[in-house]
């Protein structure tokens, strides 16, 4: 599997993991897939290498460190799950805990790479063409410090800062268990569709909530307005 054939959703998930925005489901999925497919590992390593170059670090170290990254995260999560009995939907401090955990395991490797937030294919292309060096050096910022993009059209090209219009609208989706062996492909196709479908329903539902939950128009804060409308 090369980057070109990497499913879009998986590329997005890896990209999300790069800047600490991956959901737990995504993390599990990446770990699972990367166990089976060395190319995913290689892609991850390449992203990290690009990230390191952008931060002005030595690339050779990055590539050496990374192959066992997934294994270390897996082990750390397994260890944590033994000590904390939690349900899949957790409070945000659990999420924060997870993110902090992953970040500490990675030893600071996961620092947001602004170039790749929503542009995994471009990132991959840059990496394979070795044009990384000419890319603008992005300042190293703590992950999550950047708010949502000012404009849904990417401004990363000019500034190198994070633009992640997709992040806010993302819906965590847990498909019903199926017996399909190659479920990844089916899920990949439908994830964007699910996000759009759910966000549309949440918008319509907010009309109901604004009238019938006694809190005025506050529920509209949940609505994701996309530029597609």
């Amino acid at each position: 599997m090369s980057e070109q054939t990497l499913p879009q959703s998986l590329a997005e998930s890896i990209s999300a993991l790069m800047d600490n925005q991956a959901s737990e489901l995504e993390l599990q999925r990446i770990l699972k897939v990367s166990e089976q497919d060395p190319d995913i590992k290689a892609t991850w390593a390449r992203y990290q290498m690009v990230s390191a170059v952008l931060r002005g670090e030595q690339t050779s170290q990055s590539t050496i460190v990374l192959p066992d990254f997934a294994a270390r995260v897996s082990a750390a999560i397994a260890a944590e799950e033994q000590s904390v009995v939690v349900k899949p939907q957790q409070g945000w401090w659990h999420q924060l805990g997870r993110v902090a955990l992953v970040a500490s395991v990675a030893g600071g490797m996961i620092i947001s790479v602004q170039q790749y937030n929503n542009t995994a294919p471009r990132g991959a292309e840059m990496a394979s063409n070795n044009t990384v060096i000419s890319a603008p050096i992005a300042p190293v910022l703590p992950s999550g410090i950047n708010g949502p993009a000012i404009n849904t059209r990417t401004v990363a090209l000019q500034t190198g800062y994070e633009t992640r219009p997709q992040e806010n609208r993302r819906v965590m989706f847990q498909p019903r268990q199926t017996v399909t062996t190659n479920a990844t492909a089916a899920t990949a196709v439908s994830e964007e569709e699910v996000t759009r479908y759910v966000n549309q329903m949440i918008q319509a539902h907010s009309d109901n909530a604004a009238l019938n939950s006694g809190q005025g128009v506050l529920p509209y804060a949940r609505v994701i307005i996309s530029d597609e409308e």
Partner: protein, 322 residues
């Protein structure tokens, strides 16, 4: 740990973190008359829609950790409510809602006010669904608010911590809390200006990305409970009532339900081919997506709301055609 002790723990934590003055209700009755819960709910449901205000609030939920800020304008003109909600983070956007008559009380308000219970039309009142507890005062957005702890009595809805402005009835702070006492989402006003210049608010230039939403999507002042026209919803959690229905522009049938504080909506549409089935989560809002086969046709059925997955699943499984 039992659910009750979790709640106690949560309320203790809240008391620690939000400067709730845990004064007893009787310590200074003359200085601070403690309005009853019912009076507080009526105030929250009725008074806030009758005033003009401009405020800013923050919003945060479990899946989008980033704090978001909003500016809200609310004014009455010609007996109708106008709301403008401006997104202060990210792309410039605003939501405009106009044309809701101030004397229009939708089903949710009627339930919150206990209207049906009073006239003997409802066997269930809000006290059967939630345990309400006034937990003193706190200061939010520079204003005195009464803290209302709302604990669900079954597992089909979530709980709330509400801080309700003593003067205006505005909800100044609202936390939605799940069964493990984790906050699912939080709203909190930062500042409120009462009776601002309405003309100036009206003249505010609309955002380049203005999204108009409909008022009156559910009927005003319902006097009776009703049911959807073309779908049978055989089970909803106790206390939820049908609030109204719409046909959306994309062809979906939308059915709306409320118990007074919590809402969910059901979406139905005929579909061909494969539909994704499963559970979607965005912030506090859950979408349970499934399929219904009725009279040889397949329909996509989704239950969307700030409700636990068990409730959404059971609702979806009990829907059929008429």
């Amino acid at each position: 740990m039992s659910k009750l002790s979790l709640w106690l723990l949560a309320s203790m934590l809240l008391a620690l973190t939000t400067n709730v003055h845990a004064q007893s209700q009787t310590s200074s009755p003359l200085l601070l008359p403690s309005p009853g819960v019912q009076a507080l709910l009526i105030k929250m449901s009725q008074d806030a829609s009758h005033i003009n205000y401009r405020g800013t609030f923050t919003y945060q939920n479990q899946t989008r950790i980033a704090l978001q800020s909003f500016k809200i304008d609310h004014w009455i003109d010609n007996g109708q409510e106008h709301d403008r909600l401006m997104f202060l983070n990210g792309p410039e956007r605003e939501i405009l809602r106009e044309g809701q008559p101030v004397d229009c009380n939708a089903m949710g308000h009627k339930l919150l006010q206990g209207s049906f219970a009073k006239i003997g039309k409802s066997l269930i009142n809000l006290n059967d669904l939630y345990q309400f507890e006034i937990r003193g005062q706190e200061r939010v957005a520079g204003r005195l608010a009464r803290v209302l702890l709302v604990i669900p009595k079954d597992s089909y809805r979530y709980g709330y911590f509400l801080s309700i402005d003593e003067e205006t009835g505005l909800v100044l702070k609202s936390w939605l809390i799940d069964e493990n006492a984790h906050p699912l989402e939080r709203y909190q006003f930062v500042s409120i200006e009462l009776n601002p210049d309405v003309r100036q608010m009206e003249r505010t230039i609309a955002s380049s990305h203005q999204h108009k939403v409909l008022a009156n999507v559910t009927p005003c002042n319902p006097a009776e409970f009703s049911k959807p026209d073309s779908w049978q919803v055989a089970w909803v959690p106790p206390g939820f009532e049908f609030a109204g229905q719409r046909k959306l522009s994309n062809g979906q049938d939308m059915l709306m339900y409320t118990d007074g504080l919590t809402t969910f909506s059901i979406f139905l549409e005929p579909v061909t081919g494969v539909v994704p089935e499963g559970v979607g989560q965005s912030g506090a809002t859950l979408a349970y997506m499934s399929r219904l086969i009725y009279k040889n046709s397949t329909y996509r059925v989704s239950v969307v709301g700030e409700i636990p997955v068990a409730a959404a699943t059971k609702i979806a499984q009990n829907i059929s055609g008429l």
